[in-house]
C-alpha cells in the first residue's frame, strides 16, 4: 500500500495538496492535521463516528464532510493504479522513474507524454470506477469522490502522446 512507504506518502501529499488547493482552498488550514491523521492510521481514519444522542448536546448530528477528508482515502488506490499503468508504460525506466513521473503530474511542469488517447480513456474509466467503488465502500459523498477522480484524470490528459 502506498501509505506504507515514505515515497508513497510523499506522492499522496503532493497530489492531495494540489487537489484540495484547486478545489477547496478554504480547507487548507485543516490539511496538515487531516493528512497526519490519515497517515498515522489509514484504517481508523475512514471509520465512521456514530452519532450519539448526547443528553447535553444539540442532538444526533452527522459529520461535516470536507474534501480534505475524502481526498486521501480516494486518492490512495487511484494513485496505486496510475503508478502501475505508468510503470507499464515506462518499462525500461523502472518504478522509481514512474513515481517521479506521477509526481510531476501534480507540479506545474508538463509531464512526458506516455499514454495514447485509447489508453487514457481506459485509465480514466478505471479511475472513475475506483472512486465510485471506494466512495460506496467507505460511505463517502460520491460528488466529492468524483471531484478527486476528475482532478487526476484532468492531469493525466496532459500526458497524451
Amino acid at each position: 500500500m502506498l501509505t506504507d512507504t515514505q515515497d508513497g506518502k510523499t506522492l499522496i501529499n503532493e497530489a492531495a495538496y494540489r487537489i484540495v488547493g484547486e478545489n477547496a482552498p478554504q480547507e487548507l488550514p485543516l490539511y496538515v492535521t487531516t493528512r497526519d491523521q490519515y497517515f498515522a492510521d489509514p484504517e481508523r481514519f475512514v471509520q465512521v463516528v456514530e452519532a450519539e444522542d448526547e443528553p447535553s448536546g444539540i442532538g444526533a448530528t452527522i459529520a461535516v464532510t470536507t474534501l480534505t477528508k475524502v481526498v486521501f482515502p480516494i486518492l490512495t488506490p487511484i494513485l496505486s493504479y496510475v503508478l502501475d499503468k505508468v510503470a507499464e508504460a515506462l518499462q525500461e525506466e523502472g518504478s522509481e522513474r514512474a513515481s517521479e513521473w506521477v509526481r510531476s503530474l501534480f507540479k506545474d511542469t508538463k509531464p512526458k507524454p506516455v499514454f495514447t488517447q485509447a489508453q487514457l480513456e481506459v485509465i480514466a474509466s478505471t479511475i472513475q470506477d475506483i472512486a465510485r467503488t471506494e466512495a460506496d465502500r467507505l460511505e463517502l459523498k460520491p460528488l466529492q469522490a468524483r471531484t478527486v477522480s476528475d482532478s487526476v484524470i484532468a492531469r493525466l490528459a496532459l500526458a497524451k502522446i
Binding site: G21, E22, R35, V49, D53, E54, I58, V64
Partner: protein, 663 residues
C-alpha cells in the same frame, strides 16, 4: 443578516414572555424526586421502626440532604467534566500558522456574536475546545456549567463546519442553539437535574434491594422455622406489589428527567430563531440531518453486525427511544421552529405527569395523619400525668400550651405537605400552561384556538386520571389509597372519583383561563407581566385549595368506607360529601370574587391606556401591537423581538503554496 418584514414578525408571539415548559418540567422533577425520596425513606425506616414521629422527620432530613449533595455535585461538575475529558480553553494553541489564524478568526466571530446579543450581556461565557472525546469529530457543541460558571464546549467538527460557513448552516445553527441554552438559563437546571438523578437513583435502587431482601428473608425465616407460608402469602404479594410500584415510580422520575432535556431543546431553538430573525437556517440544518446519510446507515449496519442485542440493552434502548428520549425528533423541532405558537399549547404529558406526581406524593406523605394519632396518645398521657400530679394548675397550663404548640406545628406541616406535594405540581405546571394558552388565544383570535372546550375537558380528564393513577400506584398504603389487600373501592367507584377530580380541575381551569384572558390582554407595557403572572399563579393556588381539599376528603372517606363498611352508610357519605362540597364551592366563589376585585382595584382588568398618547386601547379583537392613535409600539413584550445584528461571515484568504507542507 436580513431582517424579517413586520408582517413576518406580527405572526408570532414571543414564547419567552412566560416561563418555559423547561421550568415547568424542572419543577415537576424536583417535586417528583422530593416526593419519591420521602416515600422510600419513610418506608425503609418503617421496616425497623413503626413510629411516624421518627420516620417522617428522618425522611425529611434525607430528602433535604439529597438536594444539598446534588447542589454541591452540580457546582463541581463543570470543572470535573473539563478535567476528565482533558478539554482546553478555546481557541487552542496550534503550531500550524494557518490553522491558528483560522481559530483566531472563529474566536473573533463567536465573541462578536456574543457581544451583539443583549440576553447574553450579563453572562460570562467561557468557550472550551474538545478534540479528545470519541465524538469530537462531529459538528456539535454543548452548553454546560452551573450558576455563574457557564461554558460552551466547541467540538473539533465545528471547526470544519466554520470553514463551510456561511454556505452550510451547521456552524451558525449549533453556535446559536448552544448560546440559546445559556440565554434561557436552562444549563444550571439541566446539570442540577442530572445530579439529582445521580443522587436519587442509588437511594431508590437500594430501597428496591432492601425490600426484596426483606421479602426473601421473611419467606426463608418461615420455611426454616417450619411455619406454613399461607399467612405470609398476602404479605409477600403486597411486597412484590410494592416493588413493582417502586420500579414504576423510578421510571416516571427518569421520564420526567429526560423530558426536561427534550423540551429545553425547543426553547434553545426558539431563542436561536429569535436572534436570527428566521427559522430558515435552523430548519435547513435539521433537514440536512434528516437526509439519508451514509453514516446513519453504517450505524444501523454496525448494530446488525453486532448480532444479538442483550435483552437489557434492548429494553433500555426501547425505553430511551419510546418513552424517555433526550432530544425531540428533527421533524418535531422543525414544526416548532416554523410555528412558535406550538410553544403555547397545552401538553397532555405534563398534565398526566403533574396529576400522577401530585397523587403519588400527596398520598405517600399522608403518613402525616399518623402523627395526629401519636399526638392524641401523647396528650392522653399528659392528661393522666396532670391528674396524678400534686400541683395540677401549672401542669395544666403547660399541657394546654404544649398541646396547642404541637397542634400548630402539625397543622403547619400538614399544610406544607398539602401545598408542596398536592397543589404546586398542578398550579405551577398545568396552571401556568393554561395561563399562556389563554393569552395566546385572546392575543391572536384568528389563529386556531388552543383552549377549545374539548381540550379543556380532555386536559381536566388527563389531570384527574393522572391523580387517581398516582394514588393507585403509590407504593405504600396511606389515606388516599383506594385498593388495599383487605378491601377496595370498586372499579366503577374509582371511575367515579376520576370523573369527580376531572370536574374539579375543569372548573378550576376555566376560571384561570378567564382571569388570564382579561389580565394579559390589557397589559400594554414593554416589560413582561411578571407581577401579574405571579399574582394569578398565587390566586389559582388559593382557588384550587378548597375544592382540592374537599375532593381529597371525599376520596379518603370513600376509601375508609370500603375498608370498614359499618363506619357509615353510603347514603350518609354521599349527603355529607354534597354538603361539604357546597361549602367548598362557596369558598371557591368567594376567593374568585375577592381575586377579581383585587385585580380590578389595581386596574388590571379594564382597557389599558397607551403609555405614549394616553388614548384608551380596545384589545377586544386581539392584542394590538401599535396604538391606533399614535401608531407606537404598546405591547412589545408579547411579540417576537427584532433579530440581533450578527457579524459578517468570515473571509480568510488562504494562500496555496507551490509545494505541499512537508511530511
Amino acid at each position: 443578516m436580513q431582517k424579517p418584514s413586520t408582517s413576518d414578525r406580527d405572526a408570532h408571539l414571543n414564547p419567552f414572555a412566560f416561563p418555559s415548559e423547561t421550568d415547568i418540567r424542572f419543577l415537576l422533577l424536583v417535586l417528583a424526586i422530593a416526593g419519591s425520596t420521602m416515600i422510600l425513606v419513610q418506608a425503609l425506616i418503617g421496616i425497623f421502626i413503626e413510629s411516624t414521629l421518627i420516620a417522617f422527620p428522618s425522611a425529611l432530613i434525607v430528602t433535604v440532604s439529597l438536594f444539598v449533595i446534588a447542589w454541591h455535585q452540580a457546582r463541581q461538575s463543570a470543572a470535573k467534566t473539563i478535567e476528565v475529558n482533558k478539554w482546553q480553553p478555546f481557541p487552542p494553541q496550534k503550531a500550524d500558522l494557518l490553522q491558528s489564524a483560522l481559530f483566531q478568526q472563529m474566536d473573533r466571530y463567536i465573541q462578536q456574536t456574543v457581544a451583539n446579543v443583549s440576553e447574553l450581556a450579563s453572562e460570562k461565557i467561557q468557550f472550551i475546545w474538545d478534540e479528545t472525546s470519541r465524538s469530537s469529530t462531529l459538528p456539535t457543541g454543548m452548553a454546560f456549567g452551573f450558576g455563574k460558571q457557564q461554558y460552551v464546549c466547541l467540538r473539533q467538527g465545528l471547526h470544519e463546519a466554520f470553514i463551510q460557513f456561511p454556505e452550510s448552516p451547521t456552524f451558525q445553527s449549533v453556535l446559536m442553539h448552544e448560546l440559546g441554552h445559556i440565554a434561557n438559563r436552562d444549563v444550571s437546571k439541566t446539570v442540577f437535574a442530572t445530579s439529582l438523578g445521580q443522587c436519587f437513583f442509588p437511594i431508590a435502587i437500594s430501597s428496591v434491594v432492601v425490600f426484596t431482601v426483606y421479602t426473601l428473608w421473611a419467606v426463608c425465616d418461615r420455611l426454616v422455622k417450619g411455619i406454613t407460608l399461607d399467612p405470609t402469602q398476602p404479605g409477600i404479594r403486597e411486597i412484590i406489589n410494592t416493588n413493582i410500584k417502586i420500579i414504576i415510580l423510578l421510571l416516571i422520575v427518569e421520564i420526567a428527567r429526560a423530558s426536561i432535556l427534550r423540551v429545553r431543546e425547543y426553547y434553545a431553538d426558539a431563542r436561536a430563531r429569535n436572534w436570527l430573525g428566521t427559522s430558515t437556517t435552523l430548519t435547513q440544518f435539521f433537514l440536512e440531518q434528516l437526509e439519508p446519510s451514509p453514516q446513519k446507515n453504517s450505524t444501523l449496519k454496525n448494530k446488525h453486525q453486532r448480532g444479538r442485542l442483550y435483552v437489557w440493552e434492548f429494553l433500555e434502548q426501547q425505553f430511551r427511544l419510546k418513552l424517555a428520549p433526550f432530544h425531540p425528533t428533527h421533524h418535531q423541532r422543525i414544526s416548532r421552529l416554523e410555528n412558535p405558537r406550538h410553544l403555547f399549547s397545552l401538553s397532555y404529558e405534563v398534565a398526566l405527569l403533574a396529576g400522577f406526581l401530585s397523587g403519588v406524593s400527596l398520598n405517600a406523605n399522608m403518613i402525616i395523619f399518623s402523627i395526629f394519632t401519636e399526638l392524641s396518645n401523647f396528650n392522653s398521657q399528659l392528661n393522666q400525668s396532670v391528674q396524678a400530679a400534686n400541683e395540677p394548675t401549672l401542669l395544666v397550663i403547660l399541657t394546654i400550651l404544649l398541646f396547642f404548640a404541637l397542634t400548630l406545628v402539625f397543622s403547619a406541616i400538614f399544610l406544607a405537605v398539602f401545598v408542596v406535594f398536592g397543589l404546586i405540581p398542578i398550579v405551577g405546571t398545568v396552571g401556568l400552561q393554561i395561563q399562556q394558552a389563554a393569552f395566546a388565544d385572546c392575543a391572536q383570535p384568528t389563529q386556531p384556538r388552543l383552549l377549545t372546550l374539548q381540550r379543556l375537558m380532555a386536559v381536566s380528564l388527563v389531570l384527574g386520571t393522572g391523580f387517581i393513577l398516582g394514588c393507585l400506584l403509590s407504593p405504600f398504603i396511606h389515606a388516599l389509597s383506594m385498593r388495599t389487600s383487605e378491601a377496595a373501592i370498586p372499579w366503577f367507584g374509582i371511575f367515579g372519583l376520576a370523573i369527580g377530580w376531572a370536574g374539579v380541575f375543569f372548573i378550576w381551569i376555566v376560571s384561570i383561563a378567564r382571569l388570564a384572558k382579561s389580565l394579559y390582554l390589557n397589559h400594554a407595557e414593554s416589560s413582561i407581566p411578571r407581577q401579574k403572572r405571579r399574582w394569578l399563579t398565587r390566586l389559582s393556588g388559593f382557588l384550587l385549595f378548597p375544592i382540592f381539599l374537599w375532593m381529597c376528603m371525599v376520596q379518603i372517606l370513600f376509601g375508609a368506607q370500603a375498608v370498614k363498611p359499618d363506619l357509615f352508610s353510603v347514603s350518609a357519605l354521599v349527603i355529607g360529601c354534597m354538603i361539604s362540597g357546597a361549602f367548598a364551592f362557596v369558598l371557591y366563589g368567594i376567593i374568585w370574587v375577592v381575586g377579581w376585585n383585587i385585580g380590578s382595584a389595581r386596574g388590571w382588568f379594564r382597557n389599558p391606556q397607551c403609555p405614549h398618547c394616553n388614548s384608551v386601547i380596545n384589545n377586544q379583537s386581539g392584542l394590538l401591537q401599535n396604538c391606533h392613535e399614535c401608531d407606537r409600539s404598546i405591547t412589545s413584550w408579547a411579540w417576537l423581538p427584532l433579530p440581533v445584528s450578527l457579524p459578517p461571515p468570515p473571509s480568510l484568504f488562504v494562500p496555496v503554496l507551490d509545494t505541499p507542507p512537508p511530511l
